[in-house]
């Protein structure tokens, strides 16, 4: 169980300088917005979340609260730069929060003398010294936590690196490093597991394997928290979702509840002849619906299938097809995070 309460992280110290028209000037001469760092050049131009930020510095995580339950796979989603990795570092005590708390099974992680039996984490596959062999890396890690040496062989076999254990990590591909990171996370047989973008660099078979592994770990009653910037990746793996954008919580709920939020439902309609189609379009547009032509079919948004069927019946238009589509998780995700995409 991971609990995050009002977690906030601001990077960098308040600067004495702020940017005005590309020139760095001391804050005291910077004009009405002095003492407040706003990313836009003109004061008052920024009406987004940044505008009500207090003093300087970048808010990577902004009053984030959610909990991650055991026995389930929870997807942690957000666009690039949303603050996912920072949040995970805060949970692991690698970074100190500006305010708020993050606890793992009721305790702040940094209060634990040793971590591997409490939380297994893969933050970045590159967070290893390339000069060591995988075996030496894991032997040293295991030793710090009093984990028996035989676990090293076990986890290497489990992630499919059994034959590569004596090779230097520097020569590993990204996919192999991801597997090594997963091996390190499994070392202490921990009840809580964190994975930051674990399937990057894995081949399709590796992705399937990783999904199966996350499902199995959750089925064993563990808390499994997996971050990604791709919804499609989570669609088949996660039970719950935590979605953030610009450091703020957008949603924390089950995948089903999240899917139901999608508003871009559309209905595909096909009529017997073009004349009937024209009169149906007129009728629909009179009702305020939006109609687009798609290869002989009509794509209707703003009216549900019941309504369209009723309209066709009233106007005596025979329908050849009437199909309702829920928006995909991916679309819902894009829709909900559209306001918080920082880099595009």
């Amino acid at each position: 169980m991971i609990e995050v309460h009002e977690l906030t992280k601001r990077y960098g110290r308040p600067s004495r300088f702020r940017r005005v028209g590309g020139i760095r000037r001391p804050a005291s001469t910077a004009g009405p917005a002095a003492g407040r760092t706003v990313s836009a050049a003109a004061p008052g131009a920024d009406t987004g979340p940044a505008a009500d930020r207090p003093a300087a510095g970048r808010l990577a995580v902004d009053r984030l609260s959610f909990s991650v339950k055991p026995g389930r796979v929870t997807g942690f989603l957000g666009p690039n730069g949303a603050g996912k990795s920072t949040a995970l570092r805060l949970i692991l005590g690698l970074n100190e929060p500006t305010s708020g708390t993050a606890t793992v099974d009721g305790r702040r992680f940094r209060e634990l003398p040793r971590g591997l039996r409490h939380v297994g984490a893969l933050l970045d596959a590159h967070d290893v010294h390339g000069g060591r062999t995988a075996e030496a890396h894991l032997v040293a890690l295991a030793r710090t936590n009093g984990i028996p040496r035989r676990r090293v062989g076990e986890v290497l076999d489990e992630v499919g690196l059994g034959g590569a254990g004596r090779r230097r990590i520097g020569g590993y591909s990204l996919g192999m490093r991801q597997r090594l990171g997963i091996a390190a996370a499994l070392l202490g047989d921990p009840p809580v597991l964190l994975f930051d973008e674990p399937v990057n660099g894995l081949d399709p078979e590796g992705v399937l394997w990783a999904r199966g592994l996350f499902r199995r770990l959750a089925a064993e009653g563990r808390t499994v928290f997996v971050s990604s910037h791709l919804m499609s990746e989570m669609e088949h793996t996660a039970d719950d979702l935590v979605v953030i954008g610009r450091g703020r919580l957008i949603a924390a709920e089950s995948v089903a509840a999240f899917a139901a939020r999608g508003t871009r439902r559309s209905v595909t309609v096909r009529t017997a002849d073009p004349a009937a189609a024209r009169s149906l379009v007129d009728a629909l547009e009179a009702e305020g619906a939006t109609v687009r032509h798609r290869g002989g079919r009509l794509a209707v948004t703003g009216a549900d299938a019941d309504r369209i069927g009723l309209l066709a019946f009233r106007h005596g238009i025979p329908l050849a097809e009437l199909t309702a589509h829920a928006s995909s998780l991916e679309e819902t995700f894009m829709e909900l995070t559209a306001d918080s995409v920082e880099y595009r």
Binding site: L92, L94, P113, G115, D127, H129, A136, N145
Partner: protein
């Protein structure tokens, strides 16, 4: 669940140190270079001894014999080698990101720093003793060919050997502390070279403040501690061996303190 034992951290740091291919190479190359420099000076003296003036011959034991065992050039190479190894013990983790993996496994960061410090200091002490002992034994054996070699029991010899041996852990810890503070490999090595090697070369010992500054650096302390007999040139600003030992201790303690504070407080 087994208890969190400190000696497990020591064992892990030992494994981490020796599982890098560069470690044995750095130690070996450092030792060979130091011994090479010292032996070269000794062989030159051995060759030229018959031609030396009576004044030099009179002072050869102990002044010049000791300087052959521990040349300034040798000490500079030794400083660079041990300081760099000490820096890499910590910068190697920050530079690669390994530090995050380490601290996620052991959230008690001070324990990690303590284990690293202890392993580094111990290994360096053994290494320093080995290099200093061998350098003394080999150079004096060569000089014995001219009957001007010294024995370990001679006055001031033990102190000079000990000071040369301790130069290794002192410089290694200085590199370790600087590395913990700066966290970047190139920045750390350049700063270390600047402080431990360049700064003493820029100081003028005849100037009062220059002497104070020089005496406060490990190299100045090492020079003082390896001096035996009466100096052939007048010393403008003499100081005690006790003061020099204190400088050694202060550098080691200061560097470890910096490492503890820097690593504990900052985000990784």
């Amino acid at each position: 669940m087994p208890h969190a034992r400190f000696r497990d951290l020591l064992a892990a740091e030992w494994t981490k140190l020796w599982s890098l291919r560069s470690t044995p190479w750095a130690f070996a190359v450092g030792a060979v270079a130091v011994l090479g420099v010292n032996l070269n000076a000794t062989l030159a003296d051995h060759r030229n001894y018959p031609n030396y003036s009576d004044g030099i011959k009179e002072l050869f034991v102990p002044v010049w014999a000791m300087r052959d065992a521990f040349t300034l050039g040798g000490a500079m190479v030794f400083t660079l080698a041990t300081g760099s190894i000490g820096a890499l013990v910590i910068v190697g983790e920050y530079g690669t990101g390994q530090i995050r993996t380490t601290f996620a496994a052991v959230p008690a960061r001070r324990s990690v720093v303590a284990a690293k410090t202890l392993v580094l200091a111990t290994v360096m002490l053994a290494y320093g003793a080995l290099v200093a002992g061998v350098s003394f034994a080999v150079t004096q054996a060569v000089l014995d060919g001219r009957d001007v070699g010294m024995a370990i029991g001679d006055e001031g010899v033990l102190r000079a050997v000990a000071a040369s041996a301790l130069l290794a852990p002192v410089c290694a810890l200085a590199g370790f502390g600087l590395g913990a503070l700066l966290r970047h490999t190139a920045t750390t090595i350049v700063s270390l070279t600047g402080v431990l090697l360049l700064l003493p070369a820029l100081m003028d010992e005849r100037n009062r403040w220059g002497a104070v500054f020089l005496h406060a650096l490990p190299q100045g302390a090492w020079k003082r501690l390896t001096e035996v007999g009466v100096s052939p040139v007048p010393v403008d600003h003499p100081w005690t061996a006790g003061g020099a030992w204190t400088v050694y201790a202060a550098w080691a303690a200061g560097a470890v303190t910096v490492a503890f504070l820097a690593v504990h407080r900052r985000d990784v």
